[in-house]
Symmetry: C2
Subunit: 372 residues, 2 copies
């Protein structure tokens, strides 16, 4: 029941929970998953130095976190060779996206994204009363020219582009994105979500000039750094864009141990390199498993592989359901035609073996349903 | 510089950072504080079982937290004897207050609070374009009758009441708050912030019927439970109020280790009782130290003591600055006449001894300034 004292906008929002996590599935099925390959978590885990730093600092949790995330921003400043004023740390990219939409999108304002791209961004846009305009993927890639053309057409406040893309794993060269910025409307801000960029080939990160106010880049500790549960993300951009967060953010919102662990994780380049190698191996193995069953893995620059199940969304959904029923947690794109795929996160060999064992049965069961 | 692509509301918000944390002070002064008694943190710390649970789970931080905070809500459900549907867990009371203001307060909507009460609530109200109306404290207590009368006068969407109060430490009997609810306007929602209630005498927690939609109660792991840096708070209320959070909250916003640690902390009633005892001793000791210097400690039901410095806000500010200069981090109320006080958080004996040692010098220095 909706509380009629809420604002008209809040009353208009759906009360249903849009995001179902693996624990919710597990409680419903009454058993834990055998392999947790659905949320693009990094099962190879965080740097042992980050784990040790968090464990060692747990006793200090009585202190609020540093409102400026000073040490972490300093480490990021050194990593990227930009001044700390160009960096904002927040409660994951999800948290930062919420603040950013709030800063730029009022009721009725236009926003542009790709049809089937990151749903949490769409959730924030709807939540602040924005009007979402979508353009289709083009050959399973986000279509930069079409996104920017749509932004002109609808006078978009924000344009969302993930590179590499989730859920497809496709990517653009960073230089191509920078070159396209001249086609972005002057009143639009490009939200470039580079959550998966550490999993991508060299040249994927966009070489944006740090004082370029046309774009804000988002990074996270949740993917290659293996700290999804810590809720640490950061934004990089021009100071007039970055400083806006201070108007609305929860200044003491960061978990103190997460700040400390994230700083250690950023500094451990050796661990990151090792995980990057593991992810490459895992992508190839997932592709091999998919091909062995006659499916088509898509090229991926992320820590997951989208696998084309060779038919429509209903069939892919049947495959997914049959995998979940066998204890393999995977997810899938929600919009056609990308929803002909299922999306499998990279994990260690034991997880991939469990997937490989379940896939033939799941496919057979889905095909049996389809032929009924 | 303000980014002119922001919404009109966002452009109107101050870009200055309203909340300065102790680490920022420490970096400015080039040395750590001797005693950290300014942020109402609980220096006695969290349950060792909570610390162990967080340390043990640090290696699992690659997993997102449970979007439903199921185990923690179950523990809270058992503790309070209410169904989990009446409980929402969020990123500290600060985070929950942000969501709540967003749900209920549109641009131009009226909100009522006490003049000098919790500034983060005011920050959220301003951030969503609400109009804050204030009523004075009455004998250093929040004035419930005046708050509710003002709510009628201005047609308030939200009325904020902290019990015990921060920054004064004063309190009302919970039963008196419940009795007063009949005077609350039908269209208002009372936000009853019980952050410090575990530090208060029996009978301070308001015995609100759980299906009473007139009030939402806020609790936290940051104070008596000693986990400020974890960012765990919760709200209790009628389901139509509680379910509203699902429309706007960051569903995967909770730190996973914090969820696990908070659950352990809630279950460790023995540790809480011990800390409650320590806080009582510390309050009495802080009062004794204040009296020994001719100052007047106010009665407190919180984990801090407001100390009347016997003059105006300028004098109290001078005392505070002199304490800070001597490595004693304290804060003070920001509105008259409460700003005749400084506010000292409860800490162990070593911290109190450091405060006791610094106070005579700080007072002498402040008095020397005042006589110039």
């Amino acid at each position: 029941m909706t509380d009629m004292r809420q604002t008209p906008l809040a009353q208009s929002l759906p009360a249903s929970v849009p995001f179902v996590g693996p624990e919710t599935h597990e409680r419903a099925r009454g058993a834990p998953f055998v392999a947790r390959l659905g949320a693009n978590e990094n099962i190879f885990g965080p740097s042992p130095k980050a784990v040790a730093a968090m464990a060692d600092s747990a006793g200090e949790i009585w202190k609020y976190g540093d409102a400026e995330s000073h040490a972490l921003r300093q480490a990021l400043s050194d990593l990227h060779g930009i001044a700390p004023e160009h960096i904002m740390v927040g409660e994951g990219i999800d948290g930062l996206l919420g603040y950013l939409v709030r800063l730029y999108v009022g009721v009725g304002d236009a926003v542009v994204t790709s049809l089937g791209a990151y749903p949490t961004f769409n959730y924030h846009v709807a939540g602040f009363g924005g009007i979402l305009h979508t353009v289709p993927y083009r050959d399973d890639h986000e279509d930069i020219a079409a996104l920017f053309a749509k932004a002109h057409e609808v006078k978009a406040k924000l344009v969302y582009l993930a590179n590499p893309d989730n859920p497809m794993g496709s990517w653009h060269r960073g230089a191509d994105i920078v070159a396209a910025l001249d086609d972005l409307p002057a009143d639009s801000l490009l939200v470039l979500d580079e959550a998966y960029v550490e999993c991508a080939p060299d040249g994927t990160a966009a070489p944006v000039a740090i004082d370029d106010s046309r774009v804000i880049r988002m990074r996270t500790l949740s993917k290659a750094y293996g700290m999804a549960g810590a809720r640490v993300g950061y934004a990089m951009g021009a100071t007039d864009v970055i400083s806006g967060f201070n108007k609305v953010r929860n200044h003491f919102g960061m978990n103190r141990c997460a700040q400390i662990g994230a700083t250690a994780a950023i500094l451990d380049r050796e661990w990151l390199a090792q995980v990057q190698g593991e992810i490459t191996v895992a992508r190839e193995d997932i592709a091999r498993i998919a091909r062995s069953q006659g499916l088509t893995p898509l090229p991926s620059a992320a820590n997951f592989v989208a696998v084309d199940c060779g038919a429509d969304g209903a069939f892919a959904k049947a495959v997914l359901d049959e995998l979940v029923a066998r204890g393999i947690f995977v997810r899938m794109p929600f919009a056609a035609p990308q929803n002909r795929c299922i999306r499998i996160s990279c994990g260690p060999k034991t997880d991939r073996d469990a997937f490989a064992a379940a896939l033939p049965e799941a496919l057979a069961a889905a095909r049996a349903q389809a032929s009924r």
